[in-house]
Every structure is written in structure tokens, then in C-alpha cells.
Point group: D3
């Protein structure tokens, strides 16, 4: 009933923390994650543009900024559920979509409903911008799990998250921005203090080898 409810809800995203139920040295709210994903997407978009791709910037920013808004309704529950079945994941996805639709119909003024149905729908489609979002989301997840592992978090979940995020990034390896990431950024990440003593170098090499094998 008015955009005021929407503005207030932004603050609720400051109160939802990612990966609940696991000890973390540093918490990340959904609002903070959304900020970082949009920043990363902005950089990746610039890489694509420099490589000659036409970027629809409005679409890119919209997708990145709003991609986790629907977590408002059911929270960040995907991580643990992910290790269950794909059927469960789908059920939850449906719940989320229905609740988002209801929210827009009830809270957003009529003249803006069409806009918000677009803004808040799942953004990870096959367009260049949808793929940049998919990569940016995983890059931030990679940094978040990396940060925990580097600080000494013994929770195996973070190693799983790192692997899964890196594997997803590799799936987009035909993209210029992913090639840039793998060539310029990942090595800097692995050169960080203390990483040589963790599982990450071996894990990274193994994932890379698996991908190269697929490519041949």
C-alpha cells in the first residue's frame, strides 16, 4: 500500500544474514551482498564492453541490484537446501515467486506494478546481462567463502560453496569477463596471505583440470 512499504523493506534486507546456521567470522547481509554483486557486475560489464560486446546497462544494473530482493520473503535458505534434491529447490523457488507476486500486487502502487514485476523477476536468463549476473553472484559468493576459509573457518560448508561457485563461473568460460576473472583475478586471490596452507590451491587446480578435460 504505497512505495513507503518498499522503502522500509530495504532495511529488512539489512537484517537477513546469508548462510544462516553456520558460524562465520564475518556476517554479510543480503543488502551488502546485493551491493557487492552490483559492483562486480558493473566491472564485468566494463570488461565485456571493452571486448566489443554491447551491454544493456540498464538491464544489467536492474538485474544485479534486485536479484535477491525476494529473499525478503523466505530468507536465505537456499544454501543448505541446495544439498537436498532439485525437487525441493524448485518447490521453494515457486514459493518465493508467488510471495513476490503477492507483495507487488498488494504493496506497490498500481502504476508501478508492471515495472516491479519486471525488476523483481528472476534475472539469470540467457541474455549477456543475465549471464553477467550469474557470474557476478558467484564471484561474490566465492569471495565470501574465501574470506571465511582464509580467516580459518573450519566449517566444510565454505569449501563446498567455494567449489560450487568456481564451477559455475567456469560454466560461463566462453565469456570475456570470465576469462578476465580466471586470468587476472583468481591468481591474485590465491596469492593472498595464508592461502597456500588451505585446500584452495589444490581444489582450484582440480576444478580447472576437470573443465579442461571437458573442453577436449
Amino acid at each position: 500500500m504505497g512505495i513507503h512499504q518498499y522503502f522500509r523493506s530495504l532495511s529488512d534486507l539489512e537484517n537477513i544474514y546469508r548462510c544462516p546456521g553456520k558460524f562465520k567470522y564475518q556476517e554479510h547481509s543480503v543488502a551488502e551482498h546485493s551491493f557487492k554483486v552490483t559492483q562486480v557486475a558493473q566491472f564485468l560489464g566494463n570488461v565485456e564492453e571493452q571486448a566489443g560486446q554491447a551491454v544493456n546497462w540498464r538491464a544489467l544494473y536492474e538485474k544485479a541490484l534486485n536479484h535477491d530482493y525476494p529473499e525478503l520473503f523466505i530468507g536465505d535458505i537456499k544454501t543448505p537446501v541446495k544439498y537436498a534434491t532439485s525437487e525441493l529447490r524448485e518447490m521453494l523457488s515457486e514459493v518465493e515467486e508467488t510471495m513476490t507476486r503477492n507483495f507487488i500486487d498488494n504493496e506497490i502502487p498500481t502504476e508501478f506494478q508492471a515495472i516491479y514485476h519486471v525488476l523483481l523477476k528472476e534475472g539469470k536468463d540467457d541474455t549477456l546481462e543475465g549471464r553477467i549476473l550469474a557470474v557476478a553472484d558467484k564471484v561474490d559468493l566465492l569471495y565470501e567463502s574465501f574470506g571465511e576459509i582464509q580467516k580459518g573457518n573450519p566449517e566444510p560448508t565454505f569449501t563446498k560453496i567455494y567449489s560450487e561457485a568456481l564451477e559455475t563461473i567456469y560454466q560461463f568460460r566462453e565469456m570475456n569477463c570470465v576469462q578476465y576473472f580466471l586470468r587476472e583475478i583468481l591468481p591474485d586471490l590465491l596469492a593472498e596471505k595464508g592461502i597456500e596452507k588451505t585446500d584452495l590451491p589444490a581444489l582450484t587446480t582440480e576444478i580447472k583440470a576437470r573443465v579442461l578435460k571437458e573442453d577436449n
Copy 2:
């Protein structure tokens, strides 16, 4: 694979906070809520026993202590979802049960699986102990929402939670322990400092009136 995973998971319940996405002055972990519900159930059980009811104490403690363990799998997402449709609620309930079953089958040693299938199943059945749990769960929810309202939390969610909790308690008004609660405890709650300036006295009176009307 082994009860060690179960012991470790208890600590994860210290990292899941109730009612995510809403500003709170005081956070309550699922572990803390479980402790308080068991304490409240212990008291309510004693009221029933003094009133001549036979309490199966083992069943009561089991139900109260373990009632929210499955939140480990999908977090405390019921509150916002509750205001959606009952179909959604059911879907989530199913997800939770499946994940609990999988967890027991994968992590609990074979000789204890049967026990944990009983311990972790939904405890709010029609037995005396199941009804005491239903009441105790709502009493703690009432105290939690009361605490926020008393401290000045302007979030309307807490008023909704208070109402809904009190209404559920009233549904069990034929029980001795609920009669004790309504007669001896609720007035003390409403006599707390600063409550006279909140919606709670009117709300409580209104709920009571509605119930009395139903009774006639």
C-alpha cells in the same frame, strides 16, 4: 555419519535467529527459544499434574526440547510465510520433513535412527503433552513479541505475533495450565512497566471478548 555431526549441529542452532528480516532489540536463537519452551513446558506440566492430570514427562520433555530442531534445515521462515497461503505453508512443512528424514538416515548411527525419527517428528499432536508443547511454544513467542513491544519496537509484525500467539493459547483454554496462565501470568505481564501505553491491553481484552463470545 555419527552422532558427532548431531552434536555439532546443536551449535548451528545457536546461529539461527528467530524472525529474520525484522529489526529486533533483542535477538533470540533457535537454541535459546528451545530452552525457554522446555522450561515453560516443564512448568505447565507441573500445573497439570497438580490438577490431577497424568503427565508423561519423558514425552513432554522430548517434544519440547526437539520441536524446532528441523529449523536447522530451512531456518525460521515460518513467520513471514504464515501470512501467505496455507498451501505454501504445507509445501515448506513437507520440505522440512523430508530434509529431517534424510538427515537422520545419513548422519545418525543405525541403532539410534528409530529413536531420532520419533524425537524429531512434529510433536504438536492431540496428547496432553502435544497440547502442552503447543501452548508452551506460543507462550515463549508471546514473551518474545511482548519484549519487543515493551522496548518500543514499532514493527507491526510483533503486534500480529502477540495476537496470533494469544489466540492460539485461548484455543486450548479447557486445559488447566492455560487457565492458570490466563488467570495468574497474563495479568502480571500486562502490569509490566510501560505496557499501559501500548496496544497490548486493548488487544488482549478484544481477543478475550471474542473468545468468550464463541463460548456462549
Copy 3:
């Protein structure tokens, strides 16, 4: 030396809290504020577009998303300093700009330096997008201070911030989005629970009256 440093620095913005040195019920990191400002700017941009204005969306998102990145270098110190002299404010602004320039020259890869010099420069210029940013920044500040006052924060600073933010918004009252804000959103804000007992209604009326007088 490499964009990795930039990605890491995004996480530092999660560790800088706004308005340091004042008790707050709810903290807001610079990362969270940036997310909310971009969300608000996105909405205000849509209002302008519906009113027939041509919005440069890329510019708008860039300005909003990056507008507080330079706080990385000197933190959020403007609030208290603001009540000092304009000379001091200018000196600090210069420090910030120099440090931003140095950071780009030292840390950002050569081929992206020109881009980041644009992204990280002061965005509040006279373009439509610069003015939307100025308004969006104040809208979030208004909500943050409002949130503290509504929760009962006795610190006079938050009343000052509310006033100053609202006055700045009024300065842009020829804009469609500001007219929408004043007409549709501000009344909803003031209709929030408990606000009638605070200074805010009187303060808001007084600011409005002062502005109307100026207009005549």
C-alpha cells in the same frame, strides 16, 4: 595492483558504519546505505520517466552505486564535521578526492583507470541523474534518522539529520520525483506507529511552511 584489490575493498565498506560516535539501535554499513540509495534512485528514476523525463539509466545507477565508495579512505566523518565550518568540510573533501585518485592510479589496472576516474568522482552534479542521486541519498538518510527516532533514540543528532535531509529534499521540489515523495511517501512515513508522539510531525510542518513561504 589489480581489480582483486577493488573487489576486496567492497568488503571493507561492510565494516564502515555510518554516523560513528552516536548510539544507534540499528547500524547501517556504507555498503548497505549504497544498496538502499541505488534502490531509491531506481524508483525515483522510474517516477521521472513516467512523468516524461528522459533518464540516462547507466549514469543514474553508476552515480548511486558508487557515490560513497570514497568513504573507504576517510570513513563516514562528514556528519559531525558538517556542523563545523564550510572551510573544514572542503579540506576533507579535497583529502578524499586525492586519496581516491591515488587509489585508482595505484590499484586499478591501466585499461580501466579512465572508467574508474569517472565512476568514483562526485556524482551530485546538475544533470537529472545527479539531482536524483542527491535526493535519493537524502531519502535514505531521512529513513535512517527516522528509524532511530521512531525506536526511541534520544540523541538530538538524529532530529538534526532528519531536518537537514528533508530541507535538502525540498530544495529539489521542482522535480517530479520529489513531488511524488512529498505527496505519496512522506505522509505514509509520518503515519507510522508512534510518530505522533515525536517531534517529527511539527518539524515536518515547520519545514514545509518555511519552504512555501520562500516560494511566495
Copy 4:
């Protein structure tokens, strides 16, 4: 004056943190500890029952759930004092008991006073249930100190706590549940990520050796 005070005090146990004065990566409230101890006791009770022992479940749950309630009165101060003299420890224990007695006499309704004098008295007696509580309390303490050491806490106190907890558990090594713990759980604990680089394997071996020697 009324059970309302008792219910309110449960929330105070959420505000008392264990082992004050030492840096910890993860805090544990007395409420959370009580929940975990009761969960552990529940499991250990099942081990005993499977081994043919008759468990008084009501007594076991009562002892575990309430065993640290009296920390409400003087806080969790035993840890540092423990390394002082036994005379000091006894004095504090007396203070605690007197305050618990006074609390019951002043706050609990007359008809429940006898019950609470039983519920809140020291539960670690020579019964099977008292011994299970003694073990369960130390198992949770072991997990808490283990968690800190695994996360990299350099504070020597946690190594002392781990040793002392394990030694106490060994003192009950004639119990089925302790044999289960030593055979099935402790090895899983020591197989956790990163533990091989800590003092814990050597420490554990040394304690075991010392005990075996005593047994011969």
C-alpha cells in the same frame, strides 16, 4: 512474586555469556548451553537405555535443563575461580545456593515452591541421571573449548578447559555412555579439519594414557 518473574528470568539467561573475560570467536549464552547439555544428556540417556540401564527420564531432563539456572544470580564465574583454591569455590557455591533459595521463597508461588526447590538444587549426584548430567555438562564444555581451539583461539584457557573436561569425562569411564563417547565420538572430533595441527591430539593421548595407567 508469581511465575511471570520466573519466565522473564529465562530471558536473562540469554544475556549471560559463558567464560566472561576471555576473547571468543563464538559466544555461548547460559540458555544455549543449557539447551545443548539437555540434548547431549538425552542422547547419553538413550545409550544407557540401549545398554540395559533403567533411566529415570523425568529426573534426567529436569537435572539437565535446570542445572545452570542458578548462574542467574552470580553469573558464570566458576571458570577463573576454579584455578584458585577449593575454599573459594565452596564459598561461591554457598552464595549461589542461598540466593537460589531466597529467589524461590520470594518469587515462586507457594504451591510450586517445593517443586522448584527440587528442580533448582545441584543435580550432579551419584544417581545414574546425576552422573549423566555430569558427563553431558563436560561434553558440551569440551565442544565449546574445542570450537575455539579449532577456529584458532590462542587463549591458553581453552586448552585447560578441554583437558579438564576430558579428564572429568574419563572419571566416569565405567558408564556405557562414556565408553560410547570415547569410542565413537571423540575420534570423530579429533578427525575434524585442522585439528592435527593443534595440541589436542597429543593432549588427548596423554590424558588417555594417564587414565589407563591408573586403571592398571
Copy 5:
């Protein structure tokens, strides 16, 4: 064994929070309280000096800075115990003193032991400096409880603390610094935002009246 242990222990005082077991909007560590008491004592000492009293500044700073160091050993447990009997309070005081003595004998290098036996002994004696410390300690306690009441904390403990602190300050009303406090500072405190709606004005007037009556 070496002053390094003493320096490390200062950081432990950052991990001990005052008034444990009560919900607070703002926590105060023992280290922070000690800083504030020393600042207040510094001001009160200047008032006395301006009024012609000879202040032994070294003694004053020593007393104020170190007055709560012994809380390292048993924590901040006095508040709840205070409302028990004086016998209990004395027992705890003895425990604290013994532990302080032991700490100095074991950890402080021989050549500094005599100094630290003086620094860490109870400082609230009948000297001017001892009395200034007694007042400064209560002034900070008054501000701490005032802060909670002003922010809306419904916990009755803070009203008790405020009363008790003010009454103790009045006991030293023959001192120049207390007269200054009552004349110049207390009215400013009571003129703070929102205080007129709390119990504090009536409470303050009542305490003052009681004292004046005693004086006649």
C-alpha cells in the same frame, strides 16, 4: 610471570560487560567504565582544586583507573548480589581480594609487586581522593542507568541502580564536587529529551527531599 600477562589482561577487561543478565540497549565493558570513571574523577578533582582543596593527583588517577581491575577475577557480579545480604557481599569481596593478591604474587615481577599491591587495593577510603572515586564511580553508574531508562529500557533494575547511585552521591554532599554536580549537572541530565515522561524526575525529587529532611 611478567608484566606481559598484565598487559594482556587489560584486554580481558574489554570482554567483561557490566550488569550481566539484564537486557541493555548499550553494553559497557569494564574497560570503558574505568575510562569514564577516571575522566569524571579528573573533572571532579578540578572542581575541588578550584574550590581550594589540595588534590593528590597521582593518588586520584591511580584509584580511579584501577578501581575495577579486580573484576577480572570474578566479573561484575555485585549488582544482583547487592540486593541480597551484606554477609554475601562481604564473602565475595574477600574472594576478590584473595584472588587479586594471588595474581600479583604470581604474575607481577617481584620488583613491582609492592606497587601493584597498592594500585589494586580497594581505593574508596576516607581521603579526598577516595571520596572523589566513590562519587565518580556512582556518577558513571548514574549515567549508564540513565541512558537505559532514556532509551526506553523497561527493566526495573535500572531504576533501582539510578536511585542507589544518586543516594550514594548525596551521602557525599558536603564535598564541593558533589555540590557542583547537584547544582550544575543533574538539572541538565533531567532536562534531556524524553525524561519528563519517565520516573526519574519524581524519583530525583523524592531522594532530594529525603536527604534535606535528614539534614534538618
Copy 6:
């Protein structure tokens, strides 16, 4: 406008955290730092006195206690700025001084203004007490950065801070208290658990070697 504002501002120093924008395992407020620096200065003063130096204790305590009060005005921003140019540092220092002067003139009662102009001015002059303050400030900074490195903080900033702090301490190596620190305390620090695996032993040796070389 009354010393009440000054007393209130002490609490603001509890809300300013040192080294903002960097992840830390343990936060230190400016109030806590001030307490620890005063404690360290107290010890170093005793070392000097035992070595036959005349210590002006009032000056020493004043300098140590108040040395970071002006951070109230612009926050703890020096760390990152320090790695910029000395010109920038100077500009900020000027801002801080002007704001301190203004605060005293506006808020402190006339009869105490002269006193507070002395108390709040930069204390690190060439007197014995000014030099003890300079050392004590760096000793606490050394302990703070040491604490992060020991706990596993991978942020390179803390190694830079440790180095810089130790180098500054060495600059005062003609002082008795610094010789005591280097001979008795620093080895204990480096003998702490886990330090042998960090950069600190090599770094310390290197700094020492560099200094000895300068001395020849």
C-alpha cells in the same frame, strides 16, 4: 553548555571503533584504547621512577587519559590516511584541533575552559611524560595488531601497524621504560602460542637489526 555534554560525549567514545573499514576479530573502542594506554603509561612511569627519573604523575595521567578525546570529532581516520602524504595528515590534524577548540569554547563552562584547553591538546611533546605517552600509545597499538595476527587475521594492514608501532617504540630506545619493554615484554609477546608460524618473529628481528645498524 555545561559539563553534562562532556560527560555524555565520553559515551560516544564507546561508539567509535578503531581502525574502521578493516575486518577485525576483536573490536576496540576509543574509550577502551584510552583506558589501556593509561594503564600502560602507568606501568612505564613506574619503570622510569624505579630507574631514578622524576615523573610528573599528574601530567602523565592527563596526557594518557585524554590523548584520543579529539577522535570524537573526526573519528579514527588516521590509520589509512597515514599511508597517504604527510600534507594530508597535517590537514586532518588541523581540522581536529580546530574542532576541539570550538568544542571547548562552546560546551565547557567558562571557568574550566583553560583547564580543558590544556587537557585536550596534543600530549606527545618532548617531556618525559610526552615521550611515555608516545610509547604507551604504540605499545597498545602493537598489542592490538598482535592480537589480530595471532588470531589469524590475514589483512596485511595489521602487519604494517605492528611494524610501524615497533619502529616508533625503538625510536625512544634511550628511555628506561623502552629498554624494559624490549628486554622483558617483547620476548614474552613473541613466545605466545602460534606466533612462531607468523611473520612477526622475522619482522621483529629485522626491525631490531635495522635499528642496531643505525646505532653503529
